[in-house]
Symmetry: C2
Subunit: 318 residues, 2 copies
């Protein structure tokens, strides 16, 4: 199977919205008038972002999900994406389920594959995604105000729990591992929530490298600090049946990584609007604290006393 057959067989589909899709030197996109085009690229490498044993269908899903999560964090509606793929060989038994997982998620979000590249090489998946957002309505990292509430969608820390089990660092009952593994391998991008938060959230970020680290980008860009309630943060971790101490739950929640949830800020006066957005998007969110004019992040106990604990963030070169 040659390069062009491979594209034809697994990835070429009728173009619907783009002016020109797969099969020319460029794809042509036409954002609607008054719209900004939001663009994000993520590269997934074997051993860093997924294990060699992963189901290719789940990997196809995840490769696009992590990109859609970036659009969600900007409040952008998915439009299209390009896929560049380095493969050790053109293996139909792998490409079939990979493309199915990828395109099923793409279809669910009306996000069209418009172009890309394939080459032989160590497995590497690079997706660039395009979305549209009305001019001036993108959710940025820099918009948080002192005293804003801090919210996190869904659950965080579970993907990291699965990774630690895979690494043999932790043992978990099978049903806990299955639940955690699904969160690691098939994250759910919070696209509907991102759209519902336009005009409501003051800032938002995609939680991919660990909650505190990613929240730190919002705080830095907005010139703020934060006060996080440990009790609320502990509740962010899913896998309720996992035999973990409260301190471990806090650790996984605040510095897990690979979560693809949204962290966002909104003023206390907007709590009703946040509730409405959350109901509309049909996703749970947890209020975990608030931003402070004073820089730095303090994680506090039920008595308001700072915990000593230090939390890291995942850094690919750290």
């Amino acid at each position: 199977m040659g390069e062009f057959d491979l594209i034809e067989r697994f990835f070429k589909r009728p173009v619907r919205r783009a002016a020109l899709g797969v099969g020319d030197d460029c794809a042509l996109l036409q954002p609607a008038p008054g719209m900004h085009l939001a663009v994000s690229s993520d590269m997934l490498v074997e051993g860093r972002h997924f294990l060699s044993t992963v189901d290719p269908r789940a990997l196809g899903h995840k490769a696009l999900a992590v990109n859609l999560s970036d659009l969600a964090a900007c409040g952008a509606k998915p439009l299209a994406f390009t896929l560049a793929l380095a493969l050790p060989s053109a293996d139909a038994a792998w490409l079939g389920p990979f493309s199915e997982g990828l395109l099923a998620l793409a279809d669910a979000h009306g996000c069209e594959l418009v172009g890309g590249d394939t080459t032989r090489g160590p497995l590497n998946i690079c997706i660039t995604v395009f979305g549209e957002v009305p001019r001036g309505q993108a959710l940025l990292r820099s918009g948080a105000q002192a005293g804003d509430d801090i919210y996190v969608s869904g659950t965080v820390g579970d993907a990291r729990l699965a990774l630690e089990v895979f690494r043999g660092q932790l043992a978990m009952p099978q049903e806990v591992f299955t639940q955690a593994r699904a969160r690691m391998e098939q994250p759910t991008p919070r696209v509907a929530l991102g759209l519902a938060l336009r005009g409501v959230a003051t800032a938002a970020v995609d939680v991919s490298d660990g909650l505190l680290g990613d929240l730190g980008h919002v705080l830095k860009a907005s010139g703020l600090g934060a006060r996080i309630e440990a009790a609320a943060a502990q509740r962010l971790m899913g896998c309720a049946d996992a035999p973990l101490s409260p301190a471990q739950r806090l650790d996984f929640a605040l510095a897990g990584g690979d979560d693809y949830e949204l962290a966002f800020t909104a003023p206390p006066s907007a709590r009703g609007q946040v509730k409405g957005a959350v109901a509309h998007a049909q996703v749970q969110v947890t209020r975990i604290g608030s931003t402070t004019a004073e820089p730095g992040v303090r994680v506090v106990d039920a008595q308001g006393q700072p915990l000593e604990q230090r939390f890291g963030s995942f850094d690919h070169f750290g």
Copy 2:
């Protein structure tokens, strides 16, 4: 050096034209009214697209050049690009010249780095480039008409000559090798020519996998065949001093690969306009034959007799 330091140090620059550049979840682009956004992605892998010994400055140049060449083939004006980079380590001695080579070419074309991703992994460079083209004016592969002239810009075959010398398949005098190597490592994207050919060329394609193979995409998309004059095609090869037979020159020119020139078609009635476009873009082009209603490609000698020779195209999975 961590991931964010790396981005900050080598790749973060003031944003000029994009609404929002490096440092949020997404970049925001705003194409001008009436413009289509042209998008292309290329992935470069060590050992396939470049040798491990390549000067990182040349590699930075080439990684963007091959993408700009796709924009050129669509007649699109470069606007912005994203860079996703997998690196074995965060090596400043490599990243410094790589980013300089990359950004020098970006600056020369007013093409802004707006986002991307970095991760640890086998060296892999994935760039997605964005350009703009007035609606309806993009140069497509599908627009050629029977009887159109076929043109090729610059020289082709030289990069392949250098590769054969690197592989030990051929020996060349040092000055020939130096010249060929420069063509392999620092291709010149024909952006000005692509812009000048808007409204002149009926179809265009980027020559990256070998002239006949890439021209074949135009012929297939346009439902045509072609008649190529061997004598003209032999003149496409640069490296005039290379000790090669006429048959070898033809071989390198027609099936070399890694050229990043433009092949395009235009009716004989537009020869004056082609001449004007070429003069404006300050690049040489060679007319090598014409398209035919009859399918298939015939390479003919000075007497119009078809040559027996068969020419391939580079296929990453062939």
